[in-house]
């Protein structure tokens, strides 16, 4: 049984990857390009040591977004608010980090806690609406994403919390002093964020929390069946609320790698779109901490290697299409596999029943 699950669990993502590769190949052939050369070029460029480092750095952000989404998924929550939560976390982390001066480690710790609090509190709005008002978290989070972006754009105004550095077009927050910065490590030719250790820690903590604690058990139980969990004494609505906040708190960490080790200030140049990326990665990695890592790396790899397509005469946005089709095919593959499994189980039960009837005769 377990063997079966592992088999199907790996077959589905692979099938999805292969089918989307086929689709992209078809698009490339239509464009008049040779898919095999294109993929070769992408792979050789993407695995150059210098690019590998920046891919790993990007993986840190994506990984955290994926874990945030996975926590929600375990509760059947569709946390599409990761985008807003990450913005809130990174922005308030940057603001608080620039406003205080503390000894080195404490300073970083304060920024991290602030970011988690900001992300968690922002998610709490959606959690409250879900639990108390019955509002679908998908709708409320979409609205909250827009509102978060607007609040930050407003607060970044020059007379409020933003400054305009000389020779720059981008308004940004005041820079975080040295004591609040995280070091980078030399790897190959590049500098890798030390925040990667935080991401690894989050991954391990996620796994332990889910599989080894009572809280994690209650969480999974509520996700599997709200009513069953409730009747066995779990405070199911409370679990939904806490899970939402937890997911938001992790989402608050998404931008911190860049913030603490690279830019040291928040600006409008911080990327958006983490919500769907996180959800995709959680789906692709089946909510498993290791699976999400591979998915996150694949995503950053594709994005890093995309610009090289320009030289081959192919618009690099093909990569976005590829990501979209990977997600769709993986979800379809899981659905099909689940249906096959269900049918097998039904058949097995039917067979057992027939045998029972025979025996009783």
């Amino acid at each position: 049984m377990k063997k079966d699950r592992i088999f199907w669990g790996t077959v589905a993502p692979l099938a999805a990857l292969v089918s989307s590769l086929f689709l992209v190949s078809a698009i490339l052939i239509l464009r008049g390009a040779n898919p095999i050369t294109i993929f070769q070029v992408m792979i050789s460029y993407g695995f150059e040591p210098r690019n590998l480092v920046s891919e790993l750095n990007q993986t840190v952000s994506y990984y955290l977004a994926g874990v945030a989404a996975a926590i929600g998924f375990k509760m059947l929550l569709f946390n599409i608010g990761i985008d807003g939560q990450y913005r809130m976390g990174a922005f308030f982390g940057a603001v608080v980090g620039a406003a205080v001066s503390l000894p080195p480690v404490l300073h970083v710790l304060l920024i991290v806690i602030t970011a988690m609090l900001a992300g968690g509190l922002w998610a709490a709005i959606a959690g409250y609406l879900k639990v108390r008002r019955g509002v679908s978290e998908v709708i409320s989070n979409i609205m909250l994403n827009f509102i978060a972006a607007a609040i930050i754009a407003f607060l970044l105004g020059e007379d409020l919390l933003g400054i305009l550095p000389e020779g720059s077009q981008n308004v940004q927050t005041r820079p975080i002093p040295l004591s609040g910065q995280m070091p980078t490590f030399k790897l190959f030719d590049g500098e890798i964020y030390s925040f990667i250790f935080v991401a690894i820690f989050v991954g391990i903590a996620y796994w332990i929390m889910l599989n080894k604690t009572v809280f994690g058990f209650n969480l999974r139980a509520t996700g599997l069946s709200f009513r069953a969990a409730r009747s066995s004494g779990v405070n199911a609505p409370g679990m939904i609320f806490i899970t939402t906040v937890l997911s938001g708190a992790i989402a608050g960490l998404v931008g911190l790698g860049t913030l603490l080790s690279d830019t040291h200030s928040y600006s409008m140049a911080f990327p958006s779109g983490f919500a769907f990326t996180g959800l995709s990665l959680a789906l692709l990695g089946r909510n498993h901490p290791v699976g999400i890592f591979f998915a996150a790396f694949l995503w950053s790899f594709l994005e890093r290697a995309a610009p090289v397509l320009e030289y081959e005469g192919v618009p690099p946005e093909i990569v976005i299409v590829m990501q979209g089709t990977i997600v769709l095919s993986i979800v379809v593959a899981y659905e099909v596999v689940a249906r096959i499994n269900l049918r097998q189980q039904q058949r097995a039960v039917g067979k057992a029943n027939v045998e029972l009837v025979k025996e009783s005769k």
């Binding site: 008002r133 979409i142 509102i147 946005e317 093909i318 976005i320 769709l328 659905e335």
Partner: protein, 416 residues
Amino acid sequence: MATDTKKEVKAPSKVKSLFKSPARITLMIAGLFFILALVESLTGATDISSPGTSGATLRFAIPLLMAGLGGLWAERAGVINIGLEGMMIVGTWTAAWFGYLHGPLMGFVAAAIFGLASGFFHAILTVKIGIDQAVSGLAINLIAAGGARYLSGVFFPPVGGDRTVSPPVDSFPTFTIPVIAPILEKIDSQNIFFISNLAGILHGLTKDVSLVTIALLLLVPLTSWILWRSKFGLRMRFSGENPMAAESLGINVYRIRYIAISVSGMLASLGGAYLALVASSVYREGQTAGRGFIGLATVIFGNWRPGGVFAGSILFGFTDALRVRQSESVMSLIMVAGIVALVLSIFYSINRRWKPGLISGSLALVAWWIHQRVDVIPQEFVTVFPNFATLIVLTFLAQRLTPPAMAGMPYRRGSE
């Protein structure tokens, strides 16, 4: 969950009847305009009822309206369409490209066809295969955005190295309604209290109208008729409320959903086409700017009714128009909202409905406070007003909303 039980218990008969009869609705709209005129003459902000604003409101509202109607069609049949944004992108791109090649009319036709196809795609994924409706919608958004950028790179002739903008498309002819428009213009310039304000608004709606605008506006009564008066509409609502029961009565829920979601895609795509061909004359990357999501918001705001969606998109289009034209006017709009809240609060208190009376009373206070303390509402907040308003409606009026019971729930034929 909580909404279902409370919906049954509460039956606010008096308040409901206030909103029901057409004569009263007309009276209320007239009252609203009266307050508007009052505020305008008090503050001297003239842009709210200027013809330019009402014209712009209409132009901004139509794309939202189309996205909203698209969302309505899908959700009434029981499937949430988060891919509205992506389907709008499909519309902007195809309309601009085919419009550039074969003229604007063909642009619209192409947008309708490709929009229908994108809706059909969503239907296959959610109805036939049965994957999560939100995942499917979001993936469509991603693929449409990426696909449009890819295709721009492939097809558009580079304009100074910039491949994010399509070549310009011929614009649609517009016309001014004879006799009426000039008369309205004259009244508007007379500066009579109330009457001139009204004439100004109507003048903007009758001047330089595009036929497309009128055609698309007609989709509101058409949708309304289909939903409430036709056999198909009844079946559509049925499969949104209780697909199992519908199936047991011999209704082909899958087919109904296929049709409804395809139409949903077509409507959203037409909204995109309007953006590209009527509101401007090019495709530009990021042109939709989250309008699909605001369309989704108007569905909630309009309580899953065509008339409500229309009202919501006009309101959101209006704030959009004010933001672009004259952001100071937004302050007078807050005053209007404050006065409306005050009137409502008095009305509720007379009817001894204390809780809504208290809420609208405090809203009036908030509006007054903002007016006293803040000089100019920051642009950023005006932009997200639709999102904010929807969140407020969901928070405070969730029990009064009547969404289709099974919208967003997975449904497999023959299983519970």
